[in-house]
Amino acid sequence: MASYYKKFKADLDASAGAGIITPEQAAAVYERALAGSPFASFRAAHWIGAAAGLFVALGIILIVASNWDKIDSYTKLFAFLLLFAGMGEAAIRLDEKPAAAVPLEMIWFFMPILGIGLYAQIFNLSGDPVKPYLVWAALASPAALLSRRPFAAYLCSALLFFTLYYGTLSSNGMLALTAARAADPQPLWHWGLALAVLAGGAAVFPGRKLSLPLGASVIWLFIMMLADTAIKLRSSGLILLSGMSLAVLWLTYGSERDDERASLPLKVWLGAVYFTTFFWHYGGDELVNHSGPDTSAGGALAWLLFAGGLLSVVFRPQRLLPAGSRDETAGKVMLAASMLCSFFLFDANEATAKAVAITANLLLAAFGTVSIISGARDSSEKQINLGVAVLTLTAVTRFIDIFGTMLKSGMAFIVTGVAFGALAYFVNKGRKALIESVKK
């Protein structure tokens, strides 16, 4: 995203230099574009201010943690409340002066955990390790949401997602979802609390950008399906179906702008398809089946995710290739195929697994080729490079992974190199034809 703004600024400056627009217009257009960025107001001074606040807050926490046992408990409690009130009030009063308000807001954000640590120290409290983080997030969220700057909200969202992952992956505590050995299943209200924390993390995340919180949620859900939880999956077919459906859903709904491809979800989808190519070596479900069968809840969720993914592919614009391009159908077919190839694994054996691997290789080859053609048509060097990178990575992996002998691999490299050369020739020829047609 940062490179987009940098390139945009360079283009505007060049246009102003060429006399196409005035420097004032260039500056105004850039400011307007930058206003849509979540870090728009975070100029260098703000970042330094945030770092200052972070270091001071961590320093105070460490000084308090060193345990001033010679000081009376009541004095420590009173001093903490006074410091808390002072920091909060100062942050409110100096709200219009970012140089002071940013570090003060940072310290204010950390004050609840400072208090929780101090109280634990004074009263020798111990217990659920997740509870302090939840209380911290609950106390800090309102101020973060009311702040005119997004920094505390980012920290709060990160805190909630950290608590979600940390709490749900442990087998003890109020957020625990993984089963403790020889113990009863985790109670249902743990799921309610975990989903509330997830919703809180996504809701607190500032701006309209959905990509990161949606990605964190999607990855968390997939981990819960792999872990020993009430929604665990153990059959390769359902695991692959869920993983690919989640990747497609993230790609579809995690996009940030209508006119820009989603980069991180796209890389995750490509990574998932690339991973699937290794099913060529699949040897059966023996390993995963050791830890029991699929749960019915996990199975139902997997089919729901697949249905959601398929409906999204059909009714929503595809985000695999540049939006509004002529490759809309190709993008949709590739997305649907990435999910549907999981069906080969429902009768999991070596032959069907090889079919999955071949489909995945074809998908990567198709994506690479369509990207190069699309990039050449739209004069997008980035798109062409992406296509070449995907084709190259796929080809190199397969030569090393499958062919084995140096002679066969060497031949395969030469054939691929010649194919790339031919592709480059036709792409260039197509571009020239396009330019000629515009001139006429």
Binding site: N124, A143, S147
Partner: protein
């Protein structure tokens, strides 16, 4: 109305945060301010400490696996439990002389009215179900020599507060 940066709302939030900590601190002070007797508990060796949120000694107790009376032998029922703590004649020597070491003698799922019952939460740990009393950490100054104390070499001086919670008062070295 613009909520962002509204000083009135921000002061309300600050007030709520301060009220939370004042109320919590007040509750902790009041609930522990009882004239219930202080007694000692034997500890068991565990990993001694870590440095999260200040230096502390991690403690495990003999009463963490309560036995006797109605205490479950191998329970799968996790959750709230009340444990009767009594002097059954076990002694230990400290710098203040010989002291009684209390033991778990009975268990109940509902809070009995008589004194001497401590609240515990049965949770599943590595070896099986363990009763957690909320006194598993004793915080120390980072230069306090007791930070090197291991469970088993110290006694925990405790009392029971108004809400049946065990309150950890001090760590006492055994001789």
């Amino acid at each position: 109305m613009n909520w962002k940066g509204n000083a009135g709302y921000l002061r309300l939030v600050l007030g709520a945060q301060l009220l939370f900590f004042a109320a919590w601190g007040g509750w902790l002070v009041v609930s522990r301010n009882t004239d219930s007797p202080e007694f000692h508990l034997a500890t068991e060796p565990v990993d001694p400490r870590d440095l999260f949120s200040g230096t502390y000694v991690a403690l495990n107790y003999e009463i963490s696996s309560p036995r006797g009376g109605r205490c479950p032998r191998r329970t799968r029922d996790l959750g709230r439990l009340f444990v009767k703590l009594e002097d059954k004649g076990k002694k230990a020597v400290t710098k203040d002389g010989e002291v009684s070491v209390y033991e778990a003698t009975d268990c109940h799922t509902n809070p009995p009215q008589e004194p001497g019952w401590a609240k515990a939460d049965m949770t599943y740990r590595f070896g099986g179900p363990v009763a957690m009393y909320g006194i598993e950490r004793f915080y120390l100054n980072e230069n306090d020599p007791r930070k090197d104390a291991k469970s088993g070499s110290v006694l925990a001086k405790v009392k029971i507060d108004r809400n049946h919670n065990l309150v950890l008062l001090d760590l006492v070295e055994k001789f």
